[in-house]
Structure formats: C-alpha cells, structure tokens
Amino acid sequence: MTDSKFPTVVHNPWRGLRQYTPARIGLGRAGVSLPTAELLEFQLAHARARDAVHHPLDIEQLIVEFQQIPEMSALGPTIQLQSQAPDRACYLQRPDLGRVLSESSSSRLQSSKTGSAEPPDLAIVIADGLSARAVQQNAPAFMRSFLQKLAHDCPEWRVATPLLVEQGRVAIGDHIGQVLQTQQVVVLIGERPGLSSPDGLGVYLTHHPEPGLPDARRNCVSNIRPAGLGVEQASEKVIYLLKEARRLGTSGVALKDRSEEVELTVSERGNFLV
C-alpha cells in the first residue's frame, strides 16, 4: 500500500460520449499527460499509418485477385506501369514525378494501343498512391462490383485494359488518358492514411483527361474501406458520376453528386451541452 496524495491515473467519466464521435475524447490522464495504454494505442495507430505509406504493393497477389474477376480478365491481362518516381522517398518529395509515366512505361502503353481500332470510352488506372494497403485490401472488391454494375448499366462502353501503376499520383490518369485518347479515366488510388483510417481507397474520375488539368476538373469518391464507404455504394456513385459527366460533357466542380446531399441532414438537436 502506498499513501499517494494523488491518484496515478484519473479516468474521465465522459468517456462514454465516444459513442457520438470517433474522436479520442475522455482519454484520462496521468498528471496532465496521456496514460500509458492510451499512449501506446496512439503509437500503434500511427505505426499502421506509417506502414501503409511505406509498404510496397504486392503486385503479383493483386494481379491474381484481379484475374479472378471474370469481367476484369475479359478486358485482358492488367498492364503494369511505373511513374517517373523510382522509389518512395522520391515519390514523397516530388509529386510532379508521380504524375508522369516513366519512359519505358510510356512506350509499353503506346504499344498496347496498336490493334485497337477506336479509342476507349473509359480507362481504369489502379495506383498505389499514399497507401498500398488501401489498394491491396479494397481494389479487387471495388473492381468486381464496379465492372459488374458497368456491364449491366453501360454494356456499350468500350473499356480499356486496366492499368496498374507503381508510385503513381492521381494526375497520372491524365497522362495515361491522353496516350489512350480515352473519353474518361477513373483512377483508384490509396489515400493519404489517417491515424484511424490507414486503408482508405479513393476513386477519381476525369472527363476528357489531358495533362495539366486542375484538381477542380476531377470528381472524387473517397474513404472506400470496410469501416467507411462500402464498395457497392462507392461503385454506384462512380458510375452515376461517369454517366453525368458524359451527359454534361465535363467533370469536376460543374458536376455535383446529388446523392451526397442526403448526408447534410445532421442531428440538429445533438448539442447536449445546452
């Protein structure tokens, strides 16, 4: 027994309010500092996010999983490409290099075109981005759902052979789109990992892609992961946006996702402090 004057760890009775927010509230304190368990929980979350940034894609595994999707293998074997960023350290400091294909990848893409008579309606690019884990974990499920819905909704669309890009940024889709002369491009990419969401996949779409387009010309469906937006809902949104972009002849800020507006209905009476 010690006769301490102060409790070592003070717990916060409002911790139960966590049911209303994913924020790290009510952590308690040792003195005024984080208790050990809460400190280590944070460190683990950060370690996972760091690993998500730095672990490379397991390309072979990913290709195997893509091949198991009938609608995907029907489009031909996935083409593997690299950006001009040779490694992660360079990729992180030179986003400009992540937006352009390496020379050898450029010529591989060029040669993949020969034989096809007309340019495609849609090209699909899968890039590691800032979280290979997000791509590894969510891209196959998304592709399965997306291609099934696409085959059902838009059977007449010519879809190019899917492309897998290492060390790629979102705008690499613009470069690829230009080479393929595709009407639209969607880029599946690992999003910047959050502390509590290291595995979010983003899908960006651009109508009439060409290098140098501002981000304002893109639409995005983000946070696709098991604990976030499900793949079924996400692929529905993407197809909706693709169709709308074709109708309007453009993408980006001019194209609003009306299905988003439902989320505006926040609980107005939730402010329990007053």
């Binding site: 209303y20 924020a23 509230i25 940034v53 400091q93 986003p95 505006l264 939730g270």
Partner: protein, 467 residues
Amino acid sequence: MSGQYTYRMGFQTMDFRDLGTLMAKATPERSGDHLAGVGAASAEERVLAQMCLADLPLKTFLTDALIPYETDEVTRLIMDSHDAAAFAPVSHLTVGDFRNWLLSDNASPEMLARLRPGLTPEMVAAVSKLMRNQDLILVAQKCQITTAFRNTVGLPGRLSTRLQPNHPTDDMAGIAASILDGLLYGNGDAVIGINPATDNVAQTKRLLTMVDEVIQRYDIPTQSCVLTHVTNTLEAIEQGAPVDLVFQSIGGTEATNQSFGFSLATLKEAQEAALSLKRGSVGQNVMYFETGQGSALSANAHHGLDQQTCEARAYAVARHFDPLLVNTVVGFIGPEYLYDGKQITRAGLEDHFCGKLLGLPMGCDICYTNHAEADQNDMDILLTLLGVAGCTFIMGIPGSDDIMLNYQTTSFHDALYARRVLNLKPAPEFEQWLRAMQIFEDSDRVALNNDIPAAFRHSLSGPRRRA
C-alpha cells in the same frame, strides 16, 4: 557582367541572378524549394548565398521588389504601408548587421514594437535565413503582441489554445463531445474553431449558432469561429448568424490569394461586416488567418520565390487587418514541402519569428501528416521550443487526432504539458472562468479538478438523456 548580387570569396565568384534567387539559395534546406527548383544546389552554395545576403543593405528591399509592384497587390500593400520614420533606427544596416542588432540589448521589447511598421516581410525573411533556431526563439520572445475580443490573447506568461472539435460529418453531438472534452482540459481560450466537413453557408450558420449557444450557456470568455471561406462568412453575417471571427487562409502573393478566391478588398469588406456586429467585449480584433509555407507553390503562384519568403509576405496581408489570431499550419501540407521533423521544426520557428517581428499574434498548428518523416516526438520538440519562444497559441484537439482533416496536431494534454513545464497560463479572463467553473483546481500548478465540475455533470450521458 556581374550584378548587384555577386559574392566574391578568394578566387570564387558567386553570381545570383536576382534578389529572389539569392533569397531562395540562402534558405535553410527544405523539400519545397527543391520541388520549385529554386533551392541551393549544394550546402556550400547555400552558405555563400547567406554570406552574400548578410552583406546586403536592408534598404535594398525597399527598391528591389521581389514581385513587381504593378502586378501584385501584396507588393503594393507592403510598399505603400512602409513607415520610413519607424525604419530609421535600422535603415543603415545590412541584413547581417540587422541580425546582430536584433540579438543585442538595443532591441528591447519597446524598441521592437516601434520598429514594426518600418519592417517589410522580405527584410524579416532575409534576416531569418541567417539565424539559428536559438536566435529565432530569443528574438521572438522579445516581441510582445496582445490582441483581444472576449478575452486578452498574447500577454507575457500566457499560452492560449484553439479548441478544434472537428467531426467527419459535422455531427452536433460529436462536436459537443469534443468541446466538452477540451473545456474540461482547460482548452479553448484562443477560439473554439471548427473546420466544417460540409462547407457551405447553411452549415456555417448551423455550426456558428451551436458554438454560440455553448459560449452563452456557460458564459465562457472566448470566441467562436467556423473556418469556412470568407465569402461564406460574409453571407452568414448578412443572414444574421452570430459571427465572432472571420476566417481566411491567406498567402503572400496576389495570385495565391486569387486561387483561394479572395482579394484584399474582400477581406476589408468582411472585417467591416464583423466589426459592425460589435460582439467583442474586451477588444475588437475580428480576423483569424491561417498560413503555411508551400501554399504559393502549391497554387503555382510563387513567382520563382522560396516558400519561406512567400510565407512572410502573407504576414503583410494579415497585419493589415488587425487579426485576433494568426497561425501557421506548419506540417499539414506534406513532405513535398517540409520533408521531416527537422524541416517542420525549422519552418515553425521561422514563421513564428517572422510573424512576431512584424507584429502578429502568431500561433502555430504544430502538426504532421502520416506521409511525412515526423512523429509525436518531433512535435514535442517544436511545442517546447515554441512555448519558450512565447508562441501566442497552439491547437488543442482530442488525443492529437483530427478525425476530419486526417492529420495530427497538438492535443489538450500537450497544452497542459507546455503550460506546466514552462509555467504558462491561459488568457486571464479564461483562467478566471476555469477557476470559477472548478475545472482548474489550481491554475498556478496547472492542476485539473479530479471530479467533474458541477455545471457539466448533466452532459455526461450525451443527447439521449435530454431527448
């Protein structure tokens, strides 16, 4: 031809094309300047540029505009508002001499305050490039800037915090839970400021009303802010929303601000609208600005300048509107601008120094993203250094984790750590409130009450109890 910006050492001659090039080459290393292609190519070139810069007369910056006067309204603001009389005490100095002067005992807090209108951002940026981290801390500590709205921010021996109760869907119960957490950890005297997930006028009004009700219900001597675009806030004011502070992210070039969708005239209009509401009780500083190195390059609006010089120019914009708060969001932008903890630390100290020397109530969002080479230990270092430097305010967020913006900043606990080890207190009006509400048991020791204060007991069960 050897120009004005040539440096000779022995047989070596370094020729810098223009003042902007010299400034960029003299900047301590950071990834953003390499991304822009303006940084020094070698460590030696950097120091030679610093030597050249040290010999440059300070007044050069009054005649050689880094961005032409004719094409940039920030340059015009800087030049037109320069006070030659205030500049007189240092007008004969070189940049290198100016560093010595700032460190000397001639540069008293009173002297530095009188000098402010005579300094341009470029002079301040230039001298910072010659200074070590400890110089940046020492001089910043001598600069005292006090502002006020419902409390007084920036007094010596005080460290304020912005309570940042963000929620990924702006859920009211979620935001309320984070506000409660922050208040019970003694945070929120700089502002209770929400980054809205849904960024439009209707949502801004809803959130403003929500925080205003909390401030009124508990009579908290603090102010609220929804960090939305200045034009949204203007519209909210017109529609009768309870706006305390007008927020805007600002940059150091006209083109950057254009990419953010505003001009100096927009800010003026918003400031006047907020002033007309007369909601401040102890002061009328109604503006809140955020800045950050790299924003100009990111908007492709940097005019070939280095990111730290662009950042300092943003402070000219800020000081024109007498803000209550300015903070540099130092590590948010990512490793392509500030690669690691070392670069983030340096940038945080530079920004705080430059802002303070120009007369701003400078705070810092001490932060990093998960793709930067940085972690909590780096933030602990910068927090401690900025606490010593007299930083006006920092962010406070539950457990360092911003679940809406996906980055890590300082936590409620971090603020208490800094207050405890450096003997810093919240703003005096807020400190008194914390005692009265029995949140602080002993504010001299920075000791929290172990029991939940009576006024907040009803909140423990959240919205269900009241439904």
